[in-house]
Amino acid sequence: MTLTTAPRQTIIVAGLGYGDESKGATVDYLAAALPDVVAVVRWSGGAQAAHNVRHGHRHHTFSQFGSGTFCDVRTILRAPMLVNPILLVAEADALESQGVVDPLGLVTADANCLVTTPIHIAMNRAREIARGAARHGSTGLGIGETVAYDLAVRAHAKAGETIGNFAAPADAPSVPALRVGDLRDQAATVRALDALARYADPLLQAVDDPDAVCGTVQQLADELCASAEDIAIVDDLAGVLGAAMDAGTVIFEGSQGVLLDEWHGFHPHTTWSTITPRHLVGELEAAGRRPFVLGLTRAYSTRHGAGPMPTEDRRLQLPEPDNREGRYQGGWRTGHLDLPALRYAAKVAGRVDGVALSHVDMLPFASRSGVPLLVADSWNSRREPLGSPTHHDLAGLQALTRTAQHARPDLMPLSTDPCEVARLIDAAVGAPVVLIADGPQRSNRVLVGEMGSNRRAG
């Protein structure tokens, strides 16, 4: 199976690192290069995604809108993705100024998606402030809180009980967590927000956060419901998705990277979200589709914020137009190509049919700068030090983190020839490199198609 310009493909784009593997630019390129793209589906993460797309004079950091938006391709938000309606409207405004017509008209949301509210964000920030130096590398957008609150409600958690690694600030209410479908009903929204506000109150009172949002639940409900008014909310998401896949090519845009997956990453420096496309692949196959999993990696490693990163090298100074220090997330880090991590990532992903390799222009750049990029084929002489992913318990996850923390990467020189690097990656992942990028623009990308033919998109 390969990535071609054939009609009606189902493509899953998944990062094989810690995020920042050019998911946005790749999805934008595919939306332009594949002739019959009909929708981009966000299916994981939430508004913390920061997927950069650059095309000519246009640039946008996609957060909840799919990265095919510049091609006027619609976005489908599918649970378990978390929806932040207020930020969605703000993003629509930004897109409008980038020349996108009626951006909210492009959005269809699953009624079943959990809603992230300003209360969740305040809780997130309160916890990160309380943690001080022991930050988890959170983006501060309330992603974990949204998931944890829903779990707490469903588990009837009592005050002080631990949900994941979060302590419940109060007894969980009996009112279910707010979902996108509820936003069609003002009264239901008020009920859900009231319960959440009472739950959050002890946590928010305990920390002095100058940015804390103050407002009445009624105001919040008004704003959330109004924000949701201009998007299509559907109860039968499977039907909508099926119709789209019958009509043309659908791209599932993953968020973050599989090394941040809640069950396979280096706990606690992970995200509250399943990043691996395993479940998605299973569901699509059960529905009779044959998804192509496109794994993404740079020609080196990067990581935002805290957590193990064995090949990190602070001497590497590579230009990075988009990633800035996040106040709650911590610094931007760069490291050498890490094949043991990549091998593990490919296994975590479950299946990878092809690889998109980006940032190959940094290979000669680093070489010229005097600190060339290197490659680690093993850690402490072990090529697969992380073993095979299992459904880890907390102890197993912590063991994984220890292995990564104590890893001593065995670094070797790396060719500056993208084809050589592609061969290494091909062998590590067990799937061919099908797309190569030598810059941030759509026009920097090329699909290495069947029989060596290739195709550039504008």
Binding site: V73, D102, G248
Partner: protein
Amino acid sequence: MGRGYWDTSAYTQAAAARRAAGRQDFGYTAAMRNLPRNQRRAAASLDAYGAAAREACDSAEHPASTPIAVMFDVTGSMGQVPVTLQKRLPDLLGLLTRGGYATDPQILVGAIGDDRYDTVPLQVGQFESDNRIDEQLRDIYLERGGGGDRMEGYALAAYFLATRARLDSLDNRGRKGYLFIVGDEMNKPQLYAESVRRFIGDEVRQDMAVDEVYRMLDEKFFTYYIVPRLTSYYNEPWLEDHWRRIVGERFLRLEDPQAVCELIALTVGLMEDSISLEEGLDDLQRIGSTGTAAVGKALARINRGAAVAVATGGVLPADL
């Protein structure tokens, strides 16, 4: 095509009715978005493929038609300007007729994209003298594409009008039409034969020089290029250099994108010798236009050209 009188209130009423019925102004664009990219098409009234002609005819009702074509770039670099034009262009006919700037104006609207990268890079309506222009504007698909190479498919639109426009004003009275291209980028290096085949349907085998296409167009139209502010390349010298080589003095920079209609109306009025620039600007002031100053500034250079024309007896040299 092109019968009936313009009634400004009809547009207002139609807009109100659409709002009342909850119908989006972007109805056609919204419909296209649900289709795979390669199945998106121009609306039938705007489809250039296989079209035989776009006619601006004299009739008993409109004995001395003045053809005015407005083609605007709808690619992403244009920012929100295409949406502004979609909203404002219905005012053009009213401005022309109320001011008496041109006899029996017939207006054609259309949209230009990128023939290399977009699905619908050419949409051309019909010459109309009533509020059917409003319908056609609403049916324009705002694809908002573009190749990121600072070049769009203007020459494809120029080729279409050069080969398809049938103007009674020219055939019966020797008067060319007016074409206003609103954009912010350059022509592709050539007019690609493949684009002509694919989007117009002519069996052309050879790419054509862009200059040659505009020479053909020049036999039928005075062509103006308007670049409004709030687009990506408004101030770029390369843009002006490129278009001045093609349209000469008729390259107009407009500070206020809201004032495109006023600029077009006054330009036509000046060239038809119906008004002086001062009279035109007074008219704009009187109707409360906020773009008066911008229009005055955009036309300052053209106006000097008009003065020369008047001095030669009110007949414009063919190559002005």
